[in-house]
């Protein structure tokens, strides 16, 4: 059973994704802020991290940088899930940081999110 960490500050959306991944047979850990996410990542060692960008206190990009600095979490595949839009600046920054995929929440069905995560884990 694959373990997935969802770092998302919006509780409603987080719960929706949690539900979907649980339905599809994942073990799901939820963190509701960037800081909480970093702690969970190093403790739980998930197979994949689903990460939001726009979060208060610590944004998604900062979370990635921290994950990449920690030997224990460096190699966990990350999929960004945001409503920030398709501005190339963000996508390029994400790629530069070694992110597997960049998904736009409202354009991607929950089913497709699962498929992308599946692919990221199996690579």
């Amino acid at each position: 059973m694959s373990k997935i960490l969802i770092i998302e500050d919006d509780i409603v959306l987080s719960r929706m994704y949690q539900k979907k991944f649980e339905q599809d047979g994942y073990q799901v850990i939820a963190a509701y802020s960037g800081g909480e996410g970093l702690v969970a990542a190093s403790r739980e060692k998930p197979d994949c991290i689903l990460l939001d960008i726009m979060m208060p206190a610590m944004d998604g990009f900062t979370v990635i940088r921290n994950l990449k600095q920690d030997e224990a979490t460096r190699n966990i595949p990350i999929v960004i899930l945001t409503n920030l839009g398709t501005s190339e600046i963000f996508i390029e920054e994400a790629k530069r940081l070694g992110v597997k995929d960049y998904l736009i929440k409202y354009k991607t069905s929950a089913k497709d999110v699962v498929a992308v995560v599946e692919k990221a884990i199996n690579k």
Binding site: D10, V12, L13, M16, Y17, K19, K20, Q23, M54, N83, L84, E88, K105, Y106, S109, A110, K111
Partner: protein
């Protein structure tokens, strides 16, 4: 003549001539000429009294009377129509002798009572009668031809003197007027006074009125809406009611004539029509008028007048001076009109302006500041006196939006001074007295003289710090709102997908249909948020276009394949015959959006038949056409089709949802890439939307 006289008489004549020439040589002006002249005359002719009248238009005006009491000087000038001895001499140009005054009709009552005999002679110079001289005796005397000849020659000598002194005075008067003109010229050159239009105009009108010995001065401007010439403030010597009521049709009276024909007019006796116009304004006492058109370039703005309560008030020379003065007035009026126009244009830009004071700064041809208004002082912190004579560069500076100082050759102000075209800039920074920069909206226009020559520029500016803050807040709000809206939409979509996928147990029948309906509604909401976000981005220029040389045929093929599912759902045939085509210079992502919008629309508004995409070209552009067999668009609706939030409202479109933003967005995306978009359609038969993109 003197040569024919006897020795005694000749001596008297020569003595008299000598005396007169001395008097004339010493006379400074006309008043100082009369008395000494007459003393000589009285002595030479051995008479009791004498008088001299000069001809002023239709009047004979008494200038001096000796030996006949003070009373006579109080008598009014004698009008032509009163006749009398003097007037008969003026008209006949012949001397007249009257031995018994009691038997003659003479104009002056005082003289009729006290004098018995007289000789009146005309004062002639170069075939022109300047007036008459008369001598009187209390007792009866029979003047002989010798007396008359002597008197006539003295009178002509006096006439020469009068003419020469008059021309000297005229010269002096002209010199004085010239000096005033120069002063006025200076006045109008310094644009600072141009801003006190009323004051400047008032001083011009006042100067005209005074200089031309008139009682009133007023200017009328043509009102294009009312098609009337109406008096405007400031006027000299007219009350408010008279200004309000002094208006005429452009074909009426002296005002209308001057306006229509564009010529100055001197009216020493009023015609009936002009009298009527004046009567309407309560100006019946006006007896003579000078009127001149206010002309700038080839345009006549109105007419300027001076009024006199005297008939025959104006000479030919007056008209010339009046013309010069009125051209000055025209410049001031035009400048005021121009400033008003600039102001109105700016008012269109923002309703905020009404409450915000605008800085107004004027510079001369050399770029030196000659004026700063109080609002400008408040905005910049500079006092007008601190800026006078300096350039904008030295003081307020001029920075671009990256806060880099703008070089002289790129300065919009320099451009206006050389090219004369109006410039408006919204992203520019100026410096306050304390050294800080503030974002400003500036508008620069040239000021011109009557010959259309650029004599300086007016810079109107305002501090837009607050406006920018508001704009930024608005953008942030839109961004936050759309982001916040997207989150719940995503949540709903996620749960609906799961339910419909059977994750929460089997779903079928009516429940399934309803859930699918909710999914469509949710999608509509998502599209609307998307469109609104795009509108905002397009309006703020926040959408980047990265044009590359791309294969449009390939892109169409991809999009058509993507949309085949939608077409199949409606049983429509979606066709595109891919063939070789020149590459276009466009942003692939934006172009994809254009194609999705147009082909998507075609599918949406077509019930039966097909949607066909074709690819063509002209000399420089590739043209994509999307043809459908749908409901078509009425001619009326075609006009508004590309407008924001416009939706065609018919029985058939009622059931088709949309935001009314798609075609507006599409049009922006096409035009921002240098292309054009258009539609051909027939109701009930179908539509063809076409757009062009430049070849790479």
């Amino acid at each position: 003549m003197p040569g024919e006289e006897s020795g005694d008489n000749l001596k008297i004549v020569l003595d008299t001539w000598y005396a007169i020439s001395k008097i004339i040589a010493q006379a400074k002006d006309l008043p100082s000429l009369w008395e000494p002249l007459f003393k000589v005359v009285l002595k030479a002719l051995n008479v009791d009294a004498g008088t001299l009248m000069t001809l002023e238009g239709d009047y004979l005006v008494r200038r001096v009377a000796i030996g006949m009491g003070e009373e006579i000087m109080k008598e009014p000038p004698i009008h032509q129509s009163q006749g009398g001895v003097s007037w008969s001499v003026v008209k006949s140009r012949q001397p007249k002798i009257i031995t018994d005054l009691a038997k003659e009709k003479i104009a002056s009552k005082v003289l009729a009572k006290t004098m018995h005999s007289l000789v009146t002679v005309p004062m002639m110079v170069r075939d022109q009668t300047l007036g008459v001289m008369s001598v009187f005796t209390r007792k009866e005397r029979n003047f002989d031809q010798k007396d008359v000849n002597l008197f006539a020659s003295i009178a002509n000598q006096a006439a020469v003197a009068i003419a020469s002194i008059r021309s000297a005075e005229l010269l002096e008067e002209n010199r004085r007027r010239l000096a005033e003109l120069e002063a006025l010229n200076e006045l109008s050159k310094s644009i600072s006074t141009l801003f006190d239009f009323e004051e400047t105009l008032f001083s011009i009108v006042g100067l005209m009125t005074r200089t031309l010995r008139s009682d009133m001065g007023v200017l009328v401007l043509y009102d294009h809406q009312l098609k009337l010439l109406r008096a405007v403030k400031p006027a000299f010597g007219l009350n408010d009611a008279q200004i309000k009521d002094f208006r005429t049709r452009p074909d009426e009276g002296v005002t209308g004539q001057s306006f229509c024909k564009g010529i100055p007019i001197r009216l020493n006796r009023l015609d009936g029509e002009t009298q009527q116009v004046l009567r309407r304004a309560g100006l019946s006492e006006v007896k003579s008028i000078l009127a001149a058109p206010l002309k700038v370039k080839s345009q006549t703005l109105g007419v300027i007048h001076v009024f006199s309560k005297n008939e025959n008030n104006f000479h030919e020379d007056d008209l010339r001076l009046f013309m010069i003065l009125s051209s000055q007035a025209a410049v001031v009026v035009n400048s005021s009109k121009m400033l008003r126009e600039i102001e109105e244009e700016r008012k269109k830009d923002s309703a905020l302006l009404a409450s915000i004071g605008e800085g107004v700064l004027a510079i001369d041809r050399g770029g030196k500041i000659i004026m700063l208004n109080p609002a400008g002082e408040q905005i910049t912190g500079f006092l007008e006196e601190e800026l006078l004579g300096q350039t904008i560069k030295e003081t307020l500076g001029l920075w671009d939006k990256d806060e880099k100082q703008i070089a002289d050759q790129d300065s919009p102000i320099a451009k206006v001074l050389t090219e004369g075209k109006k410039v408006t800039l919204s992203e520019i920074y100026l410096r306050k007295r304390d050294g800080t920069l503030f974002p400003a909206y500036i508008s620069v226009a040239a000021t011109r003289d009557a010959d259309d020559k650029i004599i300086g520029a007016i810079v109107v500016f305002r501090d837009i710090t607050h406006e920018l803050e508001v704009e930024q807040m608005k953008q942030e709000l839109i961004s936050i709102a759309t982001h916040e809206l997207r989150t719940p939409i995503t949540g709903i979509k996620g749960y609906l997908d799961m339910i419909l996928a059977g994750d929460a147990g089997p779903v079928s029948g009516e429940l399934k249909e309803m859930l699918e309906e909710i999914t469509r509604i949710n999608q509509r909401l998502a599209d609307l948020v998307d469109d609104l976000l795009n509108v905002g981005r397009l309006e703020q220029g926040r959408i980047e276009f990265k044009p590359v040389a791309m294969d449009i045929a390939q892109l169409i093929d991809e999009v058509v394949k993507e949309l085949q599912i939608q077409a199949k759902e409606k049983n429509l045939e979606l066709r595109f015959e891919k063939h070789e085509m020149e590459k276009v210079k466009a942003d692939p992502e934006r172009t994809r959006q254009i194609l999705i919008n147009l082909i998507g629309n075609a599918i949406k508004y077509t019930e039966h038949g097909s949607v066909t995409v074709t690819l063509g070209k002209n000399e420089h552009e590739v043209i994509v056409a999307v043809e459908d067999t749908g409901i078509g668009i009425s001619r009326e609706a075609q006009k508004n089709l590309f407008e924001k939030f416009y939706r065609v409202k018919t029985e058939k479109t009622r059931q088709i949802t949309g935001t009314g933003l798609g075609l507006w967005i599409t049009k922006q995306l096409v035009e921002k890439q240098g292309g054009k978009i258009w539609v051909e359609s027939q109701e009930g038969k179908g539509s063809t939307f076409s757009f062009s993109l430049p070849m790479a």
